[in-house]
């Protein structure tokens, strides 16, 4: 894994390409150069089999670098920070809304993550609640949040930057949705926690109307999340649900398509031998990386968030991701029944096999102890990984391939049974026809139904929207066009998206017609 710097001097060539790349901003260059530098360090110790699987990308470390020196996803306890102040940053507890917003903005700039931008900005409705009372009008609140919002987008230009709202309604929540609709920025990403017995329909509807304009928020099934994580959880980055005051050390993932390609024989043999082999290699990779972070780089002994009690290693775990389930299932169906063309998402037998594979992975991961993962009771969190820009010819997570999705109802029925296994998140993105704009209640109905059917996460794009969700994060189509034209874009995630958009043909994703378009208005 260590870069060879002697031979053709690839390191020098890559460093030069970075510093000379006219489409990258200064910050973006600094970050990429830092990533390049850690490639000079040796990789954490792993077995030859693990290294082989990693180099063939059957398993994947998300290119986090050879020497992890920050936890991948960190969810500081902002409510606690606001109560106790920050020693390291010499910030006393704020007493007014203006103070609190300044306090948060300063704190955000110092929260590390694998993207270098904070992936969690807090459950802002709760964090700000102590500072908003009747003395502040809605107009004043909108004004203050609007300035704050612009600051977030300009200073933390990365669509993985995420905040949470709900499940209770509040003036702050409504104000944030108004500000979102008026600014239409890619950042921050937002999740609305929905508890069917607590969250009012008209708040969900307000959020749906906001999605029509900005592609946000994402919706999560609050009671289900509380069941897995307790009520101190949040959805961060692109659909990773983790504990507040904790997070994820790392994310490793296994490409189920590649695993299936390395298998010969029956499905039973796949589940009994081939799959467990690669699950163990993935777990080995996770363990090596977690140990490197905790034992070699001493992240939790040294970072001020840990020493000031705003994060606690006991609320962390590692994320174990899977992707390529669709291709895996289609391959196994063809091995088992010569010439079978049964497709995941379109065939009951293929869907049932998909569930067997997921259940087996879940079982294996729940039997593989992992150090420093008390957040997951000593085990990894399972995650349906939504893909990165380098993935080609393989479908994200447990999704149905882009462009091949059945009707929304069938789509939900295929995906919903998987959701309970993925405590740290799963995304199936639905495209909703533009007719929904005149009937947002229809989408509210579907969100409620999805959660009643056991879905954990629900996100949708409106067909024809300026914002498009790539793997889990949002970009503006106009920004993608700028990269294609060599002009450069302001958000670092846009570059990931430009690659991903090409690889995935995401713009071809089947439009879910919750209305029937071909049938006519009479």
């Amino acid at each position: 894994m260590t870069l060879d710097v002697s031979g053709d001097n690839e390191f020098e060539a890559r460093a030069r390409a970075l510093v000379q790349d006219g489409s990258l901003g200064y910050d973006q260059k600094v970050r990429r150069l830092a990533a390049l530098a850690t490639e000079m360090l040796p990789y954490p110790l792993i077995s030859a089999a693990c290294e082989e699987a990693l180099s063939k990308r059957v398993i994947c470390d998300m290119y986090e670098g050879n020497a992890p020196f920050t936890a991948r996803y960190i969810l500081p306890d902002y409510e606690k920070a606001i109560r106790q102040g920050l020693v390291h940053l010499e910030m006393p507890p704020p007493t007014t809304l203006a103070d609190a917003l300044a306090f948060l903005q300063i704190m955000y700039s110092q929260v590390p993550s694998v993207t270098t931008y904070p992936v969690y900005l807090g459950d802002l409705d709760k964090v700000l609640a102590p500072f908003v009372d009747d003395r502040i009008s809605d107009a004043q609140l909108d004004d203050a949040l609007r300035r704050f919002w612009i600051g977030i987008d300009r200073m933390l230009p990365d669509a993985f930057v995420h905040l949470d709202l709900g499940p209770h309604d509040s003036r702050i929540t409504r104000s944030i949705l108004r500000v979102e609709r008026s600014l239409r920025q890619a950042v921050p990403n937002i999740t609305l926690k929905v508890d069917p017995s607590v969250t009012p329909d008209d708040l969900i509807e307000d959020a749906v109307l906001t999605v029509f304009q900005t592609g946000k928020p994402h919706f999560v099934n609050h009671p289900m999340m509380v069941g897995d994580h307790g009520d101190q959880y949040a959805a961060v980055s692109c659909y990773n649900s983790l504990k507040i005051g904790g997070g994820a050390h790392t994310l490793v993932r296994v490409n189920l398509k590649e695993v299936a390609l390395r298998h010969t024989g029956s499905t039973d043999e796949f589940l009994a031998t081939t799959l467990p082999h690669y699950v163990e290699l993935t777990a080995e990779l996770a363990e090596a990386r977690v140990r490197s972070l905790v034992e070699q780089q001493h992240f939790f002994d040294t970072h001020w968030l840990a020493t000031e009690g705003l994060i606690d290693i006991d609320r962390f775990s590692a994320m174990f991701g899977i992707f390529g389930l669709a291709e895996c299932v289609n391959l196994l169906m063809a091995y088992e029944h010569a010439g079978s063309e049964a497709r995941y998402g379109h065939d009951a037998a293929a869907d049932a096999l998909g569930r067997r594979v997921v259940e087996r992975v879940a079982e294996l991961v729940a039997q593989r102890p992992m150090p420093y993962c008390e957040g997951g009771n000593g085990f990894c969190y399972l995650h349906s990984q939504s893909g990165i820009d380098l993935d080609n010819d393989v479908t994200a997570g447990t999704r149905i391939p882009v462009g091949d999705e059945p009707s929304m109802f069938e789509h939900i029925n295929t995906c919903a049974p998987h959701h309970r296994f993925f405590a740290s998140g799963i995304s199936d993105i639905f495209h909703v026809d533009e007719t929904a704009v005149r009937n947002p209640r229809a989408v509210v109905d579907i969100i409620r139904g999805a959660f009643a059917s056991g879905m954990r996460d629900f996100t949708f794009n409106l067909d024809g929207n300026e914002f498009v969700r790539i793997t889990g994060y949002l970009v503006r189509k106009s920004d993608l066009a700028k990269i294609a034209d060599g002009e450069g874009a302001r958000h670092s995630s846009d570059y990931l998206a430009a690659g991903s958009e090409n690889a995935y043909h995401l713009t071809q994703r089947a439009v879910k017609r919750i209305g029937c378009h071909e049938r006519a208005p009479r």
């Binding site: 007719t435 109905d445 059917s453 029937c516 049938r519 009479r522």
Partner: protein, 246 residues
């Protein structure tokens, strides 16, 4: 009513956001008493070719309930459309009654999407079990209506009044054919007539689209966005309608 135990069903869809409030399960019944020049589902009218895919099915109420139950957690209600739903009013009544009597479905509202061409007894019979109706008004002018549909419009107008009086009129839909029913005077009369029924009425202005319509000479003309907006503006000038243009 003849056979009310089974219905002749052209098709069903589990999710629709264009057939009444919220997300709805829609049953399209086979058969229509109009023969509209601008019909998008000519296969639902007797005498028109039925292609393989479109072959209608005889279905029982329990068969439909099985389908509806699967989708129920995602729905505000069900809508019976067509063809012309009221041609099988007995079956519609049986279906709605069964939905209301089923504990797991009783929260669903039951709507009818109709061309309005049925007698007052039909609505009186359905009213205890239905929650709303969407009625098409193809044209206020009797003569143009006759040309457009092959039938007079007096029953349609009576249906709109009757449903409003029953508190069951959810929406009136105006299908606009360029050069046929969008003349200024006609639209103004229509607006006045509708306002006299209910000045706060929900009115959907729908532009005719060629897609799926039988070819015909002279060809029917799609209104452009400007022409549709002009209709909406005239309507809005007449009353506080809740107007939606599509």
């Amino acid at each position: 009513m003849k056979d009310t135990a089974t219905g002749l069903v052209a098709s069903t869809i589990a999710f629709s956001n264009v057939d009444g409030p919220g997300n709805r399960f829609v049953v399209f019944l086979q058969g229509c008493n109009f023969d509209c020049v601008a019909c998008h589902n000519p296969q639902t009218i007797p005498g028109h070719a039925v292609e393989g895919d479109h072959a209608p099915l005889r279905m029982t109420v329990p068969e439909l309930l099985t389908q509806i139950r699967r989708a129920a957690p995602f729905l505000s209600g069900i809508t019976v459309s067509g063809g012309e739903a009221t041609q099988q009013a007995g079956f519609v009544h049986a279906l709605f009654t069964a939905v209301k009597d089923d504990l797991s479905l009783a929260h669903l509202t039951c709507f009818v999407d109709s061309n309005g061409a049925c007698g007052p007894d039909t609505w009186a019979g359905l009213s205890p079990v239905m929650d709303g109706a969407m009625i098409d008004l193809k044209c206020l002018d009797a003569q143009i209506h006759q040309q457009m549909t092959g039938q007079p419009n007096d029953e349609v107008l009576a249906s709109i009044r009757q449903l409003h009086a029953l508190g069951l009129l959810y929406e009136v839909r105006l299908l606009i054919l360029a050069g046929v029913n969008n003349g200024t005077e006609l639209v103004q009369h229509t607006a006045e007539w509708l306002a006299a029924v209910d000045p706060a009425m929900r009115v959907k202005v729908i532009g005719f689209r060629q897609h799926g319509v039988r070819p015909r000479t002279p060809a029917l003309v799609e209104p452009n966005a400007h022409e549709l907006q002009a209709v909406a503006t005239m309507l809005q000038a007449a009353a506080g309608f809740d107007i939606c243009v599509i």
